[in-house]
Each structure stands twice: as structure tokens, then as C-alpha cells.
């Protein structure tokens, strides 16, 4: 006789089953990142009532709608401002920003660099598919040189952002990059950031078979996964200036930055306490006693 130890899919309790199947294309890697995220939530043993997922717009922006956690699907590019508000209003929350490269680095680029500069305690997971996928395959700031897109039929000639270097330069406390091939390493990084205080940034390179690869004759999602397997090299602690992506070249993955910088709320509290003394009441204490929760709160 045999018995089943884990008869349910570990990711299933985290999904809104009534919304399945999801809209992501066959071979898209976003679902794979969600698997790793679910494992990270299980392994890190975080209180799920104190986790909030914030997404912007785009293919990856759908994650907030599919995860059965407190989730927030915000306006385009503004995932980080909404998340900043959440974190400041309720500092006990683990606020995770789960969005795409277009949302976080194009329309939301300004918000990202300033959140990193302030080192506010957000966990940013950026699924990078190298293109604006949901809108039809236009050139994104992350599209590598010479790639064909709908807005660059002769190939992209503008330089692309190097996301880890940008995040580090802006002040992030934790910077890592993995691909959807590196599921276990990705899950470990996502687990690590729950224990890390400050602005954490994880870039996950993901296939886009429908818009990026098809137009560039790079095959389907599985071909992209094989490409990641063959062309990626783990270099933990590599200088982020050297990890820029090219269309066909090596993909450097690993944990690049793990440092301690003063967090935004600590700085705020120190400053106000220094200036105001006993007159300053920390808002974390106020958050424990919400003053507007009653029926007459409005």
C-alpha cells in the first residue's frame, strides 16, 4: 500500500481557482515565476495575512489578480507608489511589487529609482520579457540591440537598460537576477528578500514566445528555456555594470548586491525623534490601533 503525502499542488492554495486557466500564452514564463513565489511564501513561513501583492499593468500585472492573497492591481506604472503608501500606512505588511519590465522601468521608472533611493522596505519582483507584450510587441527600454519589434522592424538600435545596475545605482539593498530556468534559485532569492529589510529587487528573465521570440525567429518558450540553460552563468556578487543583456550573448545570473542601508521609515523616525523628541509618536504604534476602522469611521 502506498499513500499520498502531498495530494495537492503546493501552488494551488495561493491561486484564485475560479480565474484559472490564466491568460498567459503557452510557453510564457510568468506562471513559472508564480510557482517559485509560492514556494518562497511556504518556505519563509511569512504570515499570509500580512502579505500584499501590488501589480501594475501588463502581462505580469495579471499576477495580482491570480494570487489569492491581499492583492492590488493598480494603474500603469504606479505599482510602486501604491505599494509605498501601503507600506507607510501599515508597516507590518510585507509589500511585494510584482510587475513587468515595461511597467516598472518604462512608465514607472521614476518611481522605481526613487523608491530605491529612499530604500523603502519593498520587495520588487520584475519579470523581464524584453518587450511590451500585452500591447503588441513594441520596443521596451529593456529590448536588447538588433532585436526586431513591431516598432523597430529593422532592429532596435537604442541601448537597453541594465536593470540590476540601475537598481544598485539608485540604492537598492538587494539585487538579484535569475531566469525562469532557475526555479529553485529564484525561489531562494524570493525567500531571502522576505527576511531582508529595505528595497529588494529581483529581475527574472522570462520567455515571450508570442511577441519577442516569434518576431525574432527564436522559437517557442521551450527554446527560450533551453537558451537560458545553455547561455546563463551564475556569478554571485558580480559587478552589476558587467551584467547587461544582449540579444544572443551570455546571461549573467546570481545575487549581485546584498547590503545594509538605513531604511526609509527608520530614517524618518530617527529624524523626527531627534527634532521633536517625545512629541513624535511612531506611526507603527498607531497602525496597531487603527482609529478609523469602525462603522462610523467614514
Amino acid at each position: 500500500m502506498s499513500e499520498v503525502l502531498t495530494p495537492v499542488n503546493p501552488v494551488e492554495p495561493f491561486l484564485r481557482a475560479e480565474r484559472m486557466p490564466h491568460i498567459w500564452c503557452p510557453g510564457c514564463g510568468i506562471g513559472t515565476t508564480v510557482n517559485s513565489f509560492a514556494r518562497a511564501l511556504i518556505e519563509s513561513k511569512v504570515d499570509l495575512d500580512r502579505v500584499a501583492i501590488v501589480s501594475g499593468i501588463g502581462c505580469t500585472g495579471r499576477v495580482a489578480g491570480y494570487l489569492k492573497l491581499d492583492s492590488f492591481h493598480t494603474t500603469h506604472g504606479r505599482a510602486i507608489p501604491f505599494a509605498t503608501g501601503l507600506k507607510l500606512a501599515n508597516p507590518a505588511l510585507q509589500v511585494v511589487v510584482y510587475s513587468g519590465d515595461g511597467d516598472l522601468f518604462a512608465i514607472g521608472g521614476n518611481h522605481l529609482i526613487h523608491a530605491a533611493r529612499r530604500n523603502i522596505d519593498l520587495k520588487v519582483i520584475c519579470v523581464n520579457n524584453l518587450i511590451y507584450a500585452m500591447t503588441g510587441g513594441q520596443t521596451a527600454p529593456t529590448t536588447p540591440g538588433a532585436a526586431i519589434t513591431t516598432t523597430a522592424p529593422y532592429g532596435v538600435y537604442e541601448p537597453a537598460f541594465n536593470l540590476p545596475a540601475l537598481a544598485e545605482a539608485a540604492g537598492a539593498s538587494y539585487v538579484a537576477r535569475w531566469t525562469t530556468f532557475h526555479v529553485r534559485q529564484m525561489a531562494r532569492s524570493m525567500q531571502e528578500v522576505f527576511a531582508k529589510k529595505g528595497f529588494c529587487f529581483i529581475e527574472v528573465l522570462s520567455p515571450c514566445p508570442t511577441l519577442y521570440q516569434r518576431r525574432n525567429k527564436m522559437g517557442d518558450g521551450l527554446d527560450a528555456m533551453k537558451f537560458y540553460k545553455e547561455h546563463s552563468r551564475t556569478r554571485n556578487g558580480a559587478p552589476t555594470g558587467e551584467v547587461g543583456l544582449t540579444r544572443d550573448g551570455e546571461i549573467v545570473v546570481g545575487k549581485f548586491v546584498d547590503r545594509d542601508r538605513p531604511e526609509f521609515r527608520d530614517l524618518m523616525r530617527d529624524r523626527f525623534t531627534h527634532q521633536l523628541g517625545d512629541r513624535y509618536v511612531d506611526d507603527a504604534e498607531m497602525a496597531e490601533h487603527p482609529h478609523c476602522g469602525g462603522e462610523d469611521g467614514a
Binding site: 502531498t6 501552488v11 517559485s36
Partner: protein
Amino acid sequence: MQRGSVSILVERCKGCGFCVEFCPTKVLALSSAFNSKGYHPPHMVKPEKCSGCDLCGMYCPDFAIYGWKVTASGS
């Protein structure tokens, strides 16, 4: 003695083949059968080799497959 097995939700599968490609013991293959959306879901071709590692479950972007370990009861 089979050490593990997989469960497959055929109607969720989109036939990407990630599980087949990255199974460490090559337990799976895409079947010739269709699901209702016209994709070929995987099936186990070497069930005795499955270790129940759930790597297929970590790769599956459609949450359609997961592995689990089998233990002999009473041992």
C-alpha cells in the same frame, strides 16, 4: 518500488513541454491525446523512475502538473 508520482490537470495544460524537457529522470512525454483546447498534455511514460521531486510542478507555467512522494505505509 515507485518513489513518486505526478498528478496532471489535463484541462489546464497548454502543451509548452517544460515538464517533459526538465524532468531529471525523463519520466514524462507529451501524449498524442488532446485536451478540450487542443493541446497535448503530458503523460508518464516511465512512472517507475519518478522520484516525486516536483521539479515539473515548479516549471509548469499553467499550474497543471505537480509531483509528490510515495511512501510505503506501515514501514
